[in-house]
Structure formats: structure tokens, C-alpha cells
Assembly symmetry: C2
Homo-oligomer: 223 residues x 2
């Protein structure tokens, strides 16, 4: 393409935004990061994502794309370079299935196993996280979900590698450890050690601080 | 492919299964329909969809694919013939976005606006359905979501065309009418009149009867 204007509307610390950053980095796409304040949504965000009013939004030559997994597939199709999804239709279907599984079964369950006061609800959610992780543990055949190289499912799972360890530390939970899910744990270490991934991750300390603050407020409110 | 063994594990009356039937019909794929009893799940279903234990499951040469939209994309990629998704990356992203929107914002809200006893909850859900339909109304630029021919979003929206009119009749609601969403209503009529779609829809009367029975049981239980 002759002219490229690529903007990413995002927030620091969102695993959904991070997925898009990894995909752009993998393809070597230059882009402008436009930080959003979700407490005070910008005209730009409302214009480019009128349906969900959420980040990430990728704006490519003035055309907006929403929903992180939709954006990652778009990046894979719109730019040449390293493929993110496999080429075989069956492997592509599996990749989409597991990425959707992570969205449907992991995110909310992790969140609710940390940010909840009710002990029974917490236990239910921890159990759900463990069940989901067991499926992922069984699915990991090689070094990465994508095989020898990381791909669509690995990128979708960035929250498991980077965010889950922080959240479990804050709440004193055992969601993902080397003892309970050794393959998934090893995957997370391999994945996080990749230079491309390191460059896309937000700085740990401020994100940890924000979540810890939120967790402590929740505890305080329950007293 | 030299040998083709295609099975669809499904139930009569599921809009998710119907999506897959439409995609297979569009590609001219011959398949065996293996009816499932979800009250008494078969070995085959548990083997081929151990994660969700739900229909539809497409089994292509012994390889299972789950999740209706994932299956429809798989069918589009695995068989030649009429394309289901557009070819342009941006149009593909939009199609995936709207199909996901229908899954996330329409299904549950429609269900809960019918099968609920609490009047406030019903109102909230009707409002959600109307908001979602307004987005779809605004998105309809041509005869179909796919343009002059129906495509991925139209197939995803089969529940809106066929199931919503039944459900609103049973519960006496005005979810989709010519008055409140004229473009979407016209779309539903055009879509249902297509021979390919007609051949894939379940017979209306038994499905209507099942839903009506369920609705009346709910009303009776509330007295």
C-alpha cells in the first residue's frame, strides 16, 4: 500500500490491546498509539467504536476495526510477513476455536476469582479457571499452541501468561503454577521470554499497583 | 479431496445448527445429519465436543470442528464454490465483527426477553434487543448484510429472521416488526424467501409448539 496511516486506540495494561500490539509488532507495522481514558471517553473512541465504546480499536487509513481477535485476524490478512494463523483450514478452525475458548471461559472466570468478596463465588470461579486451564494444558502439544512458533492462540492467551500471575499474587491464589499446570506454566515462561512479546508487554509494576489498589479497595469495602 | 466423510451432529430447531446447514448447502456439500438428544448426550457428542458438549459439531473425515461461526468459516475455507465471507480483509473483519455482535448481543437478550417472569428484567432485555437491532438496521446497506447476495452475517443472523418472529408471537412482544425496524424486517423476508435458506429451515409448527409449551410452563410456574 502506498500510504499507511495506522492508529491503535488503547489503554496501557489491557490484555486485549496487548494482543493487537503483538500482532502489529509481528508484522512489522508502524503505528501511532493513541492512549484512551475510559472514564472519559474521547470523541475519537465513540466515533470509531460506536457499538461497544471499548478499546482496542485499530484505525487503518481511517477505517476502524473493533474486537481484539477480529483485529488480529485483520492484521494477519491485511499485511504480509509472518503468518499469525495457520494456513490449513482445519488448523485455522482449531486456532479460532481455542482463541474463542480463552475469551469465553478464561477472562471472566479469572477476574471473578480475584475480584469477588463472596467466598463461594470465588471457589466456583477458581474451579472454572482450573477446568479451562486443564483443557489448555491438554491442548498444548508443542512449545507453543501454534507449534514451534507462537501464533493466534498464543497471542489470544497473553492474559494467561502475563496478567494471571500478577492477579493470583495479589489475591494469594494458585491459578497457574508449575505444580498444577506444568505445560501451561512452561508455555507462559517461553512465551514471555520472546523478544517480540517482551517489547509489547506493559511495565509490570504500575499495572500490579493498579490491580492491587483495586483489590484492597474491594477488601476494605467488604469490612 | 478423494474421499469425503461429512457428518453434522445437531438438533432440529437450533439456529446454531441451522447456520452450519446453510453453509453446507451453499457449498453443495453432501453430509449425514446425526440427530442428538441433548438431555441424554451421546458418546459421539462427548467425544467430538468434549469442551462444550454442545451442537453443532461438524465432523469432516473424522476431524471435529465446534462452535457454529468457526464451523461456517471452516466450511468456507475447506470447500470451493460460492464464498461465504468477502475476500477483502476489511470487509472480512466487518463480517466477523457483526457475526460476533449477533452472538454476543442478540441471542441471550432475545431469549431473556421471552423466557422471563420478572417484568423489569423483561423490559431491560427488550430494550437490549431493540438497541442491537437498531445497530443492525443502520448497518444494512444493501439487500443483504453481504450486499446483493447473502453471506456470513446473514447466515449468522438466521435466528433473527426465523426464530425471533416465532418467539415474539408466543410472548406477544414487538421485537422485530415492519414498523420498528423496516430495513431489518425487509431483510428477514428476503432472506427467508431464498430457496437455499428455505431448504435448511426446520419446520415451523413443531418448533413453535415446543417454544409455546415452554413459555406456558413458565407462566404456569409463576402463578
Amino acid at each position: 500500500m502506498a500510504q499507511e496511516d495506522v492508529k491503535l486506540l488503547g489503554t496501557l495494561g489491557s490484555p486485549f490491546v496487548c494482543r493487537v500490539q503483538i500482532a502489529l509488532k509481528l508484522k512489522g507495522v508502524e503505528y501511532e498509539f493513541v492512549a484512551q481514558d475510559l472514564q472519559n471517553k474521547s470523541e475519537e473512541l465513540l466515533k470509531y467504536n460506536p457499538v461497544h465504546k471499548k478499546v482496542p480499536v485499530l484505525v487503518h487509513n481511517e477505517k476502524p476495526i473493533n474486537e481484539s481477535l477480529v483485529i488480529v485476524e485483520y492484521i494477519d490478512e491485511a499485511w504480509k510477513g509472518k503468518s499469525i494463523l495457520p494456513t490449513d483450514p482445519y488448523q485455522r478452525a482449531l486456532a479460532r476455536f481455542w482463541a474463542k475458548f480463552i475469551d469465553d471461559k478464561v477472562f471472566l472466570a479469572v477476574w471473578k476469582s480475584v475480584f469477588t468478596i463472596d467466598e463461594n463465588e470465588r471457589e466456583t470461579n477458581i474451579k472454572e479457571v482450573h477446568e479451562a486451564f486443564q483443557f489448555l494444558e491438554d491442548e498444548l502439544k508443542g512449545k507453543f499452541f501454534g507449534g514451534e512458533e507462537f501464533g493466534f492462540v498464543d497471542i489470544a492467551a497473553v492474559n494467561i501468561a502475563f496478567w494471571v500471575p500478577m492477579l493470583q499474587e495479589i489475591a494469594g491464589l494458585q491459578l497457574l503454577t508449575n505444580e498444577n499446570f506444568p505445560k501451561l506454566y512452561k508455555w507462559s515462561q517461553e512465551f514471555l521470554s520472546k523478544p517480540t512479546i517482551k517489547e509489547c508487554l506493559p511495565p509490570r509494576d504500575p499495572i500490579f499497583g493498579i490491580f492491587k489498589g483495586r483489590y484492597e479497595s474491594l477488601l476494605a469495602s467488604a469490612k
